[in-house]
């Protein structure tokens, strides 16, 4: 097992190198430059813009830029933002706690909703509860977050005036008041994102449960007099979670990448909004760093998912 993990990690190194090369090429080939905003400003002559491009090495050949990046990355230098003129790792670390808090809570909320609802709906397929759960799930993924976000703001901030809709990283209070305010301002973004994720996840959990619940060994378990709850949890869920784990592992890197739209609507200074604003500003070093971290997470969680399968499903052998 540990040998398997080690081997997988070894394989991950060339794989990440390959991914980084592709990422770099895509970013380099994509049109746009970080100084576009200067273009229509009559105060800034085009020569200045050209000088800036040259200064930041944007006119060098791609392979040279990639090698520069790789060499720097190997030494732990994540790069330097064109737009903010500061180190990329500082930028990312500044935003990490918020992302983990808000987007992480949303993922947890999604799981906390999806698993019980999906499981319960699957034990009573086509019951009223199931129908209602399904309808909400369908509405959930039919409506994009840009829409539900605004709807929530209109209801809870504008009409009812219960919740703030501008996320603040600078809450003046301390102690309990601080914690309460942190929770209060996170409610809406966490709900919007969590419910959206929960919608699709509920459907997956329900489907996986239904696939398992009709299998013979579940009847065997029931014949042992274990009781409904135990049968569902120990025998059905345990097996149904195998595909669901894939999904959750697939979502985990997204926790880091954040939910761009939600972050935008509620002004949450997370990694997602950093990524999107960097992309729109063509701030390549930041985009490269964030996506590369993202790639590492994807590879890592892929590995974790595979190990988890092995743990959940003894039939899978580690080769």
């Amino acid at each position: 097992m540990s040998q398997y993990i080690l081997r997988r990690l070894m394989i991950a190194i060339p794989s990440l190198l390959g991914i980084s090369l592709v990422l770099f090429v895509v970013l380099a080939l994509a049109p746009g430059d970080p100084f576009g905003e200067l273009a229509t400003n009559p105060n800034v002559p085009p020569e200045v813009q050209a000088a800036l491009r040259a200064k930041f090495g944007l006119d060098d050949p791609i392979y040279l830029r990639y090698l520069h990046w790789l060499a720097a990355m190997a030494q732990g230098d994540w790069g330097f933002s064109f737009v903010s003129r500061m180190n990329v790792d500082t930028l990312i670390l500044q935003r990490l706690p918020t992302t983990l808090y808000v987007i992480g809570s949303a993922q947890l909320l999604a799981l906390a909703i999806a698993i019980p609802v999906g499981v319960y709906a699957a034990t009573r397929p086509y019951s009223i509860f199931d129908q209602i759960a399904n309808t909400f799930a369908f509405i959930g993924f039919s409506l994009p977050t840009f829409f539900t976000g605004i709807l929530f703001i209109l209801i809870f901030s504008v009409k009812l005036d219960w919740l703030p809709f501008v996320y603040s990283t600078d809450i003046k209070a301390t102690g309990i008041a601080w914690a309460l305010e942190m929770i209060r301002q996170a409610i809406m973004p966490v709900m919007v994102l969590g419910l959206f994720q929960a919608a699709s996840m509920t459907r997956f959990v329900r489907s996986a449960m239904l696939d398992v619940i009709r299998l013979d060994y579940v009847t065997t378990a029931r014949a042992k007099g274990l009781g409904q709850a135990k049968v569902i949890v120990k025998h059905v869920m345990r097996n149904a979670m195998i595909p669901v784990v894939t999904l959750i592992a697939l979502q985990m890197p997204a926790v880091f990448g954040g939910a761009i739209v939600t972050e935008q609507i509620f002004r949450i200074p997370g990694i997602g909004s950093l990524l999107i604003s960097s992309i729109l500003a063509n701030d390549t070093p930041v985009v490269m760093a964030v996506t590369f971290v993202f790639a590492c997470l994807v590879v890592l969680f892929n590995l974790i998912a595979d190990v988890l399968y092995g743990w959940l499903d003894p039939r899978i052998s580690f080769r």
Binding site: A39, R267, P269, A281
Partner: protein, 596 residues
Amino acid sequence: MFDKDLRTMIDDVKDGRMNRRAFVQRMIAVGLTAPMANQILSLGGVAMAQSPNPYKPTKRGGGGPLKLLWWQGPTLLNPHFATGTKDQDGSRLFYEPLASWDADGHLNPILAAEIPSIQNGGLSKDAKTVVWKLKPGVKWHDGKPVTADDLVFNWEYATDPATAAVSGGTYADMTVEKVDDLTIRITFKQPTPFWANAFVGAYGCIIPKHLFAEYKGSKSREAPNNLKPVGTGPYKFVEFKPGDLVRGEINPDYHMANRPYFDTLEMKGGGDAVSAARAVIQTGEYDFAWNIQVEDEVLLRLEKGGKGKTLYAVGGDIEFIAVNFTDPNTEVDGERSSMKTKHPILSDARVRKALALLVDRDSIKKVIYGRAGRTTANYLNGPEEFVSKNTKWEFSIEKASALLDEAGWKVGGDGIREKDGKKLKLLYQTSINGPRQKTQAIVKQACQKAGIDVELKSVVASVFFSSDVANPDTYAKFYADIEMFQIPMTQPDPALHMRRYHSREVATKDNKWQGRNFPRWVNKDFDAAVDAADTETDPIKRADLYVKANDLMWQDTVVIPVMHRAAVEACSNTLRPALSGWANQTDNLQDWYREG
């Protein structure tokens, strides 16, 4: 027209026979901007006045927090690196220039003891030197005094190519020397009629020599104070999170009496314009939101139950459609829209005129811009009273159809005009932005009625305005028949604004499309007028030349002005901001206060 009249008027003002304000109004009426009128006066020997200041608080501080909402937050806080207005606005919270423009287009001294004028010896008659005097006793936030050395340093810092400062252009073509501890002299290489650019306004903010001297040139990125500004402004730096938050606190040693009013300051970034407007106008979570480019209908609705209102600051920003004079579909020597080609359809002036007739500016104003727009026929715009004697616009599908008929474009079976078997089909590109796409739809509909088939294309702003050579979708390459965007008029002087369309500025492959004349319009009279204006020291003649240049552009339909745009801000009902269409929103932050 007005060479002689103007001279008399200036004299009238000098002698007090004519009110300053009336003079400015008259100038505006003939197509000059207010700041330009003021500059004419100062070069004509009338000292620049300051608008009466309505600032009411009688003591410093006590105003509580001021919460600003910028839907694009500042990403850096060094004014010399500010790529966009958001960065300028953020820097300006802590740094100050010598002077800034107020709402009436007057220069308002900030760090300067007074505004240079011919009377006080600050301006030379040949418009080649300016002498600025610093206010004595001004201190940086860390307690060090502000001296002429700081000013000289800023010039050196910005013009060192290795620094890679964005402000390099502002300080180019001049030398700055120290006269005494509080005085500097700027010497221009050319007579420079518009002298109030360096050290003025957003790009003119001054950074302290003692903290940045070691980081001039290639080490500029290492300066720790790039992220921790130490300026002279009304608020001292507390915290900065790029793209998210800037915080400041009151500067107890601020150099202006009774200012500032607020105890703390917060500038929050991110989000979109509509929700920013909601946070100020509907819920009152914030006091002020910047650049609310939202359909007027939405704003009107928000204001109904509101805790806030919208404010409009008129400058010279113009939204327009440019016409391509070269052929975007034929490649010559590896270059489309080459100067060696002529546009097969639009090189005919009648077609261009017809297009101008098909832009329904009234509807565009009504549905999209509302209070934030003024219809105009001019490329060079003044405030709202502006009515040019020489130019006019109208919307008429009939007249446009008649012109097209005259030009030989006959309506075909499918309702689309054709000539010599060629369909009248145009590609209309712009950057991606809600109001622009709606404008496209309105123009397209009118064009269809007149028998022109218009294909719409929209490009992400960062791609559209980029300068990478391989990118085919930039506005400068102009691989389309017509394109629409806005050129902001960041300075109250038309020199740079008009120089764009000089024939030597044509964007071509040879200059890597860095030329700014993207319609690739070439007109000898225009070149002559702009060239003459650049070195003309006589303000009256100079103004006349620019008006002529504007009229030439109108006559030839180089651009079709769509809307003269005002900056729209959302403001809480109790906040009293000091805004100007010629300045950034935070440029007069020291004068902001709250009432009621």
